[in-house]
């Protein structure tokens, strides 16, 4: 018997393993990585920042493609120069040589230096891994300073027409200056920046407004609909199918559909709203902040109230009708029955529906992205939209990841609160 238990347990772990590994690889690991990315100034369109560095490093290929030629050209220039210029150029030459020696003082760097030099002398291309070498901070800063000084001096001299090979020299100095790669580790700077940025707070506020208003309306309407259709009637299946359709069509497609209906010139819903007096004139719906928020919430209510109603209806159907019969015999009014029987027994259904809907609403993306794009003037920009824009429009992956982590933390807080209320009901084994 004991062996049997053991083998059952082993089988269980084997069966669960593939799923767990997949979840770990495609969901949990990326979230951890997002957090890691958020600690760097990580930009895809900037070669110096398109990977993650903790330390200063030197691109030896770039350095050695310029440095020797810069030195030899400087030497020629010095022999031809006189007076003040000669002094300036000699001083530059000495400084460059000094900093070159400083870099090579490190044994590891010196070895790599030779290696790359040889590869370049053979007209070959060094591989990515070996050409980047990390150097200590002091040397790096010294090098950067010298390079900038060289660039500046040569540029001034060249502009004054005091150099024979001016363009060549400034070109080489420019080539040299891109060789130092600064660390792009910024710690929690992104978080600090965004938490002090009014745009983030506006986005969080918009997200909260959208979530709270749409979820409350959906709950009240959904509950009302569930109570009304919780009875036997003709055409039940058809009604059920009807209310499933808004839920089932892609949000992006329904958002586009609403954009047509809300259109300031030709939108039928905009026209009806203006006729009823919900808005002053048709174009207000998508061109004013309040109008756009209303439009977004209205579309969301249209799309997800039926879903809410279905979840609550299923909960209602588990309440035994004998309870209501007993209550009405005791003389309880309909309202008393609703408050004393329906609501308490529906509590866990309501909480589960609220949990799923709140989280869905909080991470809303497609609806707003397609319907308003976050506009007008960021008035419907939610936190997910903001994170997307920072990542893919500004190609700032570090900052975008920080925002994504903020969304993640908010979602975690919301679920913790709900789960506190729900207890372990949700995952317990119901035998």
């Amino acid at each position: 018997m004991k062996n049997e238990k053991k083998s059952e347990r082993r089988l269980a772990y084997i069966l669960v393993a593939p799923s767990l590994l997949l979840i770990l690889a495609v969901a949990i690991w990326p979230v951890i990585q997002s957090f890691y990315f958020s600690l760097f100034d990580y930009r895809l369109n900037n070669p110096a920042k398109s990977s993650l560095h903790f330390d200063y490093s030197l691109n030896l290929e770039r350095y050695l493609e310029s440095y020797p030629f810069l030195m030899s050209t400087l030497k020629q220039e010095i022999t031809q120069a006189t007076g003040d210029e000669k002094e300036q150029l000699t001083s530059l030459q000495q400084k460059l040589q000094q900093v070159d020696e400083e870099i090579r003082a490190d044994e590891e760097v010196a070895k790599r230096y030779e290696q790359i030099d040889e590869i370049l002398n053979n007209f070959e291309v060094p591989s990515e891994e070996i050409k980047i070498v990390s150097i200590d901070e002091q040397a790096a800063q010294h090098l950067t300073k010298t390079m900038n000084e060289t660039k500046q001096t040569l540029k001034t001299l060249n502009e004054n027409g005091q150099l024979k090979q001016g363009d060549k020299l400034t070109g080489l100095a420019n080539g040299l200056s891109g060789a130092v790669i600064e660390p792009n580790f910024v710690g929690l700077a992104h978080y600090k920046n965004y938490l002090g940025d009014s745009r983030l707070w506006k986005a969080l506020w918009n997200t909260t407004v959208f979530t709270v208003i749409s979820v409350s309306i959906e709950l009240v309407l959904g509950l009302a609909i569930a109570l009304l259709i919780n009875k036997a009637f003709f055409g039940r299946g058809l009604v059920r199918a009807t209310i499933l359709i808004p839920w089932a069509i892609p949000t992006a497609v329904s958002a586009l559909m609403w954009k047509f209906l809300y259109d300031g010139q030709n939108g039928i819903v905009a026209k009806y709203f203006a006729d009823i007096g919900i808005v002053n004139n048709m174009s207000e719906l998508l061109t004013t902040g309040a109008g756009a928020m209303f439009a977004v919430i209205f579309s969301d209510v249209w799309k997800t109230t039926p879903y809410m109603a279905l979840l609550l209806l299923a909960g209602l159907q588990t309440i035994p009708s004998s309870l209501y019969e007993a209550a009405s015999i005791d003389g309880a009014t309909k309202w008393q029955q609703f408050v004393k029987i329906t609501l308490p027994l529906l509590k866990s259904s309501i909480l589960v529906a609220l949990l799923f809907r709140t989280l869905d609403a909080f991470r809303v993306f497609d609806l707003i992205f397609v319907l308003t794009g976050g506009g007008p003037a960021n008035s419907t920009e939610t936190i997910s939209i903001l994170a997307y824009k920072v990542m893919f429009s500004q190609t700032n992956f570090g900052g975008g990841s920080a925002l994504a982590v903020i969304v993640f933390i908010c979602v975690a807080i919301i679920s913790t609160i709900y789960i506190k209320f729900l207890g372990a009901d949700l995952i317990s084994d119901r035998k």
Binding site: L15, P18, Q265, I427
Partner: protein, 275 residues
């Protein structure tokens, strides 16, 4: 169930259904209007006197709409088949076998299904870019695992739990191993649950937007939601074509919902209702 529906109830029902369906109805009516009647004064007429199928033709001639449909079908089908297959084993173990850490695992599954997509998009984007999977089917199938797998496991666990435990006991008595029990006894009984799960996972994968928008940007690999959303140009929005395309994707959905509504509802509500 005890209450009887009166005529007022049917009026309410009709109004409700009409309001829910109104946007679709309007899109359907707009899709057969000639272009000139979509704008200006005539835009608010319910019925056109010159119905035309021009918008429908244009959707197929001027846009790679068939390609979008095909891409979505392939991606959603493969995602569904593979995640439900992997999830079925895990769900069986969680629902029927006795082992430690069960609720922890189910807790992880549930939490992952609540992850906001935006929190995983940057590493996943870097990953598909590094392995040159952008603009490929695999480039979406892998990220779709993030929501499809937890959803499948969650739904299947509730379905597996509903199968009577006596059957397993009987099989054990007859000397069947757990794996034999799984394939010979549980799996055949779980077919309806697996089918329901597949429908819901398929719909989720078909409707996905954020990953599809960022990863498959080439015309030839766009999915339906992204394809239609990108119909809108910089300055003009081809409402006729958009209406027609919306109708085209909605019709199969209506048929599917009509056929499977019971299953879909049971899937949506399972796990949220204590029985």
């Amino acid at each position: 169930m005890q209450k009887k529906a009166g005529p007022l109830f049917y009026v309410f029902l009709f109004v409700f259904v009409f309001l829910v369906m109104f946007p679709f109805l309007w899109i359907l009516l707009s899709s057969i209007k000639p272009l000139s009647e979509l704008f200006g004064e005539e835009a608010f007429n319910w019925f056109t006197s010159h119905p035309t199928l021009k918008s429908y033709v244009s959707v197929f001639v001027n846009y790679p709409f068939v390609k979008y449909l095909w891409n979505s079908t392939v991606i959603a089908t493969i995602t569904t088949v593979y995640t439900v297959f992997v999830a079925a084993f895990a769900a069986y173990a969680i629902a029927r076998l006795d082992f430690k850490g069960k609720s922890v695992i189910l807790g992880i599954v549930l939490s992952v299904s609540m992850f906001p997509q935006i929190a995983t998009i940057s590493p996943i984007y870097m990953f598909v870019k590094k392995f040159e999977l952008t603009n490929s089917y695999l480039g979406l199938i892998i990220p779709y695992t993030t929501f499809a797998l937890p959803l499948s496991i969650w739904l299947l666990v509730t379905f597996f739990r509903k199968i009577p435990f006596d059957l397993e006991e009987a099989a054990k008595m007859d000397g069947a191993t757990p794996l034999q029990t799984y394939f010979k006894v549980i799996l055949p009984l779980a077919v309806p649950g697996i089918f329901t799960t597949s429908i819901l996972v398929f719909i989720a994968a078909w409707n996905e937007f954020l990953f599809a928008l960022t990863i498959n940007t080439a015309e030839n690999y766009k999915t339906v939601p992204v394809g239609i959303a990108m119909f809108q140009g910089q300055y003009t929005i081809p409402w006729g074509e958009i209406s027609a395309a919306t109708v085209i994707v909605t019709i199969p959905l209506v048929i599917m919902v009509l056929l499977f509504q019971r299953r879909i509802v049971s899937g949506l509500t399972s796990g949220s209702v204590k029985e």
